[in-house]
């Protein structure tokens, strides 16, 4: 062991670092940016008002509850708004489906009978069932408002009412759908995007650095032909990837017990409400965008490490802001603007609409998302071919 040789190695590392601004940035700036972004997103989520639809089956006593709810809703501190009072559950579900209501509460016709006979009444609460975390929050908000309402309805000196039993129903997925069901559409979009970007980025970087790109430009090939060829070549593998991943997500096979190996399940067995093909087309459009993003960003990298260094810049913000973890509507306003510039936001929205809500091509959301994803793919194709021109100074 020689201290001077150890120091020589350490010195070499430090010297290399000093010259590599990008690695320095990655080490010192990226964690700050990402941590700051995370903090911002988590702390400053817009306090959304829960839009409640009331189904009143209980007649007069129901009217009193609705009136009390409306009084409570008038206080902004309660974060509740009455989106409407409707005649039956079907109408309530329709308003959750179209997004005008977040939750519906059904006041049952036997409410009065239950209360007077000293039984716990049963209230039914209906939610969309696609964002468990956000819906649980809404649920809590409604619950505390309801507790206030119940206390108010009791005449002074009367016995406090028994807490009602709550039955939870959902419009889209089953009430006991787990996080996997909810995140499955996102896996499809995010992983396709991520891996395709890394692969093309590195592969095209090799073309640029290894001199083959320059050699290609000495043949009659056009830039557009190179970019489209790349999109097609990687597109084939992206298609296979998407097909395999969707098969894994949508199906599940349980293997029998084999000797010491216990039975286990392959695949997630998530049920897709809508057409798997629309979902696959969305994932593919996203991949084509990712292929060309890889080509585009490879211009700004000299080594494969530098392609990886773009991940915190390109992939992480999309992960935080695109609605993967938190609904876009809840982000701080400034971040919502950014979220709407990110292709993954549209893919997540579209894939969710198709797979969880069963939306098809006639849905406005699906049309817009498909159009945006196609547009983004086209823009990245153009950007990518422009960077190839740069090569022929």
């Amino acid at each position: 062991m020689s201290l001077s040789r150890i120091l020589a190695v350490a010195r070499r590392v430090a010297q290399g670092f000093r010259r590599d601004e990008r690695t320095l940035g990655l080490m010192f700036v990226a964690p700050l940016v990402i941590t700051g972004l995370l903090g911002w997103v988590m702390r400053d989520q817009t306090d959304t008002v829960v839009d409640v639809v009331v189904v009143n089956d209980a007649g007069l006593i129901g009217d009193r509850i609705v009136a009390a709810l409306e009084t409570a809703a008038a206080d902004p501190a309660n974060h509740v708004a009455i989106a409407g009072v409707v005649a039956d559950e079907a109408a309530a579900e329709a308003s959750i489906r179209d997004g005008s209501g977040d939750l519906a509460i059904v006041i049952p016709d036997d409410l009065l009978a239950a209360v007077t006979s000293g039984q716990r009444p049963t209230l039914t609460v209906i939610s969309a069932g696609i964002e468990p975390a956000a819906e649980a929050g809404n649920f809590g908000t409604l619950q505390s408002v309801m507790a206030g309402v119940a206390a108010e309805l009791v005449p002074p000196g009367g016995t406090p009412p028994l807490l009602p039993k709550i039955e939870h129903e959902t419009v889209f997925l089953s009430p006991d759908a787990d996080q996997v069901d909810v995140f499955a559409p996102i896996f499809l979009g995010f992983f396709g995007y991520f891996f395709v970007y890394i692969l093309t980025g590195i592969s095209f970087l090799r073309e640029r650095v290894g001199g083959t790109l320059e050699r290609l430009l000495a043949t009659p090939v056009t830039r557009g032909e190179i970019v489209l060829g790349y999109s097609l070549g990687f597109g084939i593998f992206a298609t296979l990837q998407v097909l395999l991943l969707s098969a894994f997500i949508l199906n599940s096979v349980t293997t029998p017990v084999l000797g010491p190996i216990p039975a286990f399940t392959i695949g997630l067995g998530v049920s897709s409400a809508g057409s798997a093909w629309i979902a696959i087309v969305m994932a593919l459009l996203l991949s084509i965008g990712a292929v060309n993003l890889g080509i585009f960003l490879s211009t700004f990298a000299r080594t494969e490490l530098q392609i990886m260094q773009f991940i915190p810049l390109v992939i992480v913000p999309q992960g935080l802001l695109s609605g993967l973890l938190w609904p876009v509507e809840r982000l701080p306003d400034a971040l919502q603007v950014i979220a709407h510039l990110l292709p993954l936001t549209y893919a997540v929205e579209g894939l969710r609409a198709v797979m969880l809500k069963g939306a098809d091509l006639s849905s406005n959301v699906v049309q817009v998302d498909l159009a945006v994803l196609a547009g983004v793919a086209l823009i990245f194709v153009l950007l990518a071919s422009l960077t190839i021109k740069r090569e022929v100074v």
């Binding site: 290894g210 001199g211 083959t212 430009l217 000495a218 043949t219 009659p220 056009t222 100074v393």
Partner: protein, 268 residues
């Protein structure tokens, strides 16, 4: 007098008119005029950094000149149409290591619009790689990779060939074969410009261009250049025409800091 020595018999295959290329404050090619006749082999000699590669890239239409123009077979470069009649072998082997020898050739052949197996087998034969057609390029030796790179350059039978240091890493026996083949191509009408800093290849060329600091400082056959410099050795002739003595020292002491001694390779 430079570059205008012989009245061209036919339309020149390669022309440069006041060709200039600057990268920021560095002028890599500094006003070069050239006319290369069809069916001849031109050798371009000069130290590293003399501007040989940049000149080839300008002539082949891979870079846009800062001033002046380059013409290939009468077409102003850069022109994609003219690229079909140009073969360019870059200094580094531009081949795909993950593809096999045959797949590399097939790829470049298809880009050039020559998908036929015959074209591929012809050039494979030529560079003696027929036996390695299925081998991944990754597993080839340095010399074999040069040969593959040359084969990729020749697959579409170009009329004008730019070869940037084609024989680096090629063993002497194969080097002789390379030159035999270049000679055969020239006889068939191909114009060849070979950049090199190996002076011993120079005598195989019909005509030589001495390039230094982005300028052509001498042009003629090997014999003419030796005679003009009054020495028997081409390397010495080059140094003399660069304003240096045969040991590489400035003949007249340079103003300012003294120039480092040593070979012409040290020039920036």
């Amino acid at each position: 007098m430079i570059g205008a020595g012989v009245a061209p018999m036919a339309r020149p295959a390669v022309e440069a008119l006041g060709l200039r290329k600057a990268f920021g404050s560095i002028t890599a090619v500094d006003g070069i005029d050239l006319a290369l006749e069809p069916g001849r082999i031109y050798g371009m000699l000069g130290p590293n950094g003399a501007g040989k590669t940049t000149l080839i890239r300008l002539l082949a239409g891979l870079a846009r000149p800062t001033a002046g123009e380059a013409r290939i077979l009468g077409t102003r470069m850069p022109s994609r149409e003219a690229l079909a009649s140009i073969g360019y072998m870059p200094q580094s082997e531009a081949i795909y290591p993950e593809l096999s020898v045959g797949e590399n050739l097939g790829f470049f052949a298809r880009l050039e619009g020559r998908a036929g197996k015959a074209a591929i087998d012809r050039v494979l034969d030529l560079v003696e790689l027929s036996g390695r057609k299925g081998a991944p390029a990754l597993e080839l030796s340095g010399g074999m990779r040069r040969r593959l790179s040359l084969a990729c350059t020749l697959v579409h039978e170009p009329k004008v060939l730019f070869l940037d240091e084609p024989t680096v890493g090629v063993d002497p026996a194969l080097r002789v074969q390379f030159w035999t083949h270049f000679r055969r191509l020239a006889a068939a009408g191909t114009t060849i410009l070979v950049a090199s800093h190996v002076m011993d290849e120079a005598d195989r060329c019909d005509e030589l261009l001495f390039v230094r600091d982005g300028k052509v400082i001498g042009r003629g056959t090997g014999a003419e250049l030796r005679q003009r410099a009054g020495v028997d050795d081409l390397e010495a002739a080059f140094l003399i025409m660069s304003g240096l003595d045969p040991e590489g020292r400035p003949i007249a002491p340079a103003a300012g800091k003294p120039q480092a001694g040593g070979s012409a390779d040290g020039a920036a």
